[in-house]
Subunit: 437 residues, 2 copies
């Protein structure tokens, strides 16, 4: 929800450059991330990964350490019913009732994931608060650090679970009733580890939100940048497409007698690519991919009887995404007209695009510029808690570079120097936003 508050003017630069000695402690940030990496630890030949799923002993340990570190830094901790954790600091000159500037991310991982995806944003937020506290600054509003439950959907199957509940896209009751593969409910597991709390964490009451996350792409790395400022998070639509022909003997079925599902599917795959390329000419973030493509019976000497495909369609404009799906569907219907097959398309997921707040984006870009740190604005093609928050209050999302763009893998890596630089911009941005709020 971009606000219409006036953007910062030059007055602010001077204040920041003179008075603010905001300096991130890289060693402390690194120690926090590495200590957190020991929970669900996974040492592989490829790198240091972790598996941190909601409600496990590893999750409990990671959460307890975070609470301790928040308290060590002088923050007051709250836990809500779905285990979202908030640490709050009210600066001495701040109005305790003022809407807080909130930073954070998540601590959970995918199975066999990396150590930065999530924790960099949580411990980066804590480091930002510690940095602001020790600097010569007294923000006008409270600052909070938030860690959302199960952003990855790795155990209870719903991504951005905690922020969905906090933003009322998912009810507390429905969330707590979610079951894992073994029939354990989220409520049982959170109670068991002592993180089924009673406090409230409500983004709609915040001044705004800043998340630091790894890019999971190579755009920053390619331009040798330590930080990027996200302006949009693409929406994701998934469709499943089925094409049914007739499975036949590859020798005794003449070319004219065939109902070859693969030949029809081949035309469709090309259609998806050509429609997306055409639309992407004016909408560079728009993409459409046939990523999954399964042929039945898939035997060399049998004419393919059916093909099932899974499509991934993204864009930063809902209209563009709808247009992609419509035009792809039209092409599929045309294929049914001139091939002896039946076909169907089911759009089974539609997460609309999210837009970061102009004010928060501009603040982060200016924070980097005034500190002499090169940056760029970019969109995120991956989903983040920030997408949920953006419907309730101003949201901003910063990226730190990912080596080779790898994530969700023990090979995931971000240089400590880049972690510190991105956290520095997070801290400066938060300080500015909290000072003028």
């Amino acid at each position: 929800m971009p606000t219409d508050r006036p953007l910062r003017t030059e007055r602010f630069y001077y204040a920041s450059d003179s008075g603010y000695n905001v300096e991130v402690n890289q060693q402390r940030l690194r120690d926090d991330i590495l200590a957190n990496a020991s929970f669900g630890d996974l040492e592989t030949d490829e790198g240091h990964g972790r598996t941190l799923l909601t409600g496990t002993a590893a999750d409990q340990a990671a959460r307890e350490r975070l609470v301790q570190r928040l308290q060590d830094a002088g923050l007051t901790v709250r836990v809500d019913p779905v285990g979202n954790i908030a640490g709050r600091w009210v600066p001495k000159d701040a109005d305790p009732a003022a809407p807080p500037v909130v930073m954070g991310s998540h601590l959970d991982s995918v199975p066999q994931g990396g150590i930065f995806d999530g924790p960099l944003g949580v411990y980066g937020a804590l480091e930002a608060v510690r940095t602001i506290r020790s600097a010569d600054i007294s923000p006008a509003c409270p600052l909070e650090v938030v860690s959302f439950t199960e952003e990855e959907g790795g155990r209870f199957g719903i991504g951005t679970l905690g922020s969905s509940v906090a933003t009322e896209k998912l009810s507390v009751a429905d969330a707590l009733a979610l079951e894992d593969d073994n029939g354990y409910t989220l409520k049982e597991r959170l109670s068991a580890i002592g993180f089924h709390g009673e406090d409230k964490i409500t983004p709609s009451s915040w001044d705004g939100w800043l998340e630091l996350h790894i890019e999971q792409g190579t755009r920053l790395e390619r331009e040798n940048l330590s930080v990027g400022v996200v302006d949009s998070i693409t929406g994701i639509t998934n469709c499943s497409v089925e094409i049914h022909g007739e499975s036949d003997h590859a020798g005794s079925t003449s070319m004219s007698e065939r109902s070859d599902a693969l030949v029809a599917a081949a035309e469709f795959v090309q259609d998806v690519e050509s429609v997306a390329t055409e639309i992407a000419a004016d909408n560079p973030a728009a993409v459409a991919t046939v990523g999954q493509h399964d042929v039945e019976p898939n035997i060399r000497n049998v004419v393919p009887g059916s093909v099932t495909m899974q499509l991934d369609i993204r864009g930063v404009s809902e209209g563009t995404m709808d247009r992609l799906v419509e035009r792809i569907h039209e092409r599929l219907k045309q294929i049914e007209q001139h091939h002896p097959v039946t076909a169907s398309l089911t759009r089974f997921r539609n997460d609309t695009p999210s837009h970061m707040s102009d004010q928060y984006v501009t603040t982060a870009v200016e924070a980097a510029e005034t500190r002499g740190i090169a940056t760029k604005q970019l969109h995120s093609a991956a989903m983040h808690d920030s997408a949920n928050i953006s419907t309730e209050t101003d949201a901003g999302l910063l990226f730190a570079p990912s080596e080779d763009g790898i994530s969700h893998n023990p090979r995931e890596w971000t240089d400590w120097e880049d972690c510190a630089t991105a956290t520095h911009i997070l801290a400066v941005s938060a300080a500015w936003l909290a000072s003028e709020s």
Copy 2:
């Protein structure tokens, strides 16, 4: 090897129509096929199947019963080193040194195969000999019934194994040294079941060969015919095709940056279909199929990195098959030119087409016509022992209809009436050929 002997003239029809009371005993044929079906028996919900692999106890029992049934009918049995079995009958007025007219097929099955594929031709041949013996006919040459080892390649991996050895396409030593998946050699297994013989079975010394087999297609069923006369067996060429692009994130890789292997493969699949359709316009038996098509990594939100395909190409002319492969390969090279992918095509199998003897084809067609049985000439798109024999002597191949074209499956079925009718034409053809040879 079609001969240039003159084709039969009318003189023969009268002889056959007056003197030959060739009548197949349908019940006896049925009993033989069902008794044989008990070896490697497989009762399924879908039908009565069997698994009869070379050198197993089931194979031993099936072979021993065949030998017994050949001997019961007054035939003298021989077994060659690779277990091919021949039963010989020298009619009382025949020259024992004259080249024999030979009939037969195979007893082995694919794993979980049907009860007709192979045994119909072996026991049909025996039934034909028994029928001729009990009729008022005294052929001028010996008649033989042959059962070839492992036509299906189900255990030692090489299809038409026995006939390949008999026609010297595969040496006895190489064949005997073949190993199954557990390291057993063909020699060990044949010795163990008592069918590693020392006799000779040499098609080059035969007058000719007639095989009765199920169609494994629907052409006869669709025209309600009980018997078909095969004039050619298509050659089979197999190619493997690999297309390599680059696996990427489906969200963060823009349309213009992609090396999508599936998009390139889709163009290729269509090329194969269009090239084959064009060539089939003048060569109806020509077909090309992308039957197997595997995408890597095949994950919905990942741009496909590679596609591996297996092609099946058939035709009754070697030149046509070569032209198909050449033109398909040209198209693949063009795809490499205008897509950011690398591609390769490997032609790893090339079985050339086979042609049945004009004389044997004409004899069978005329035998059906003079008996008032409707028939048609057709090609076979499946491989048979007859293909091997056709390079050594005259060969003929008769088809009985397959219900729904199903074979290599417990659902495989041919009506007993059709079995008998097709065997009747086999017997009449053999009687004619043996009488004039």
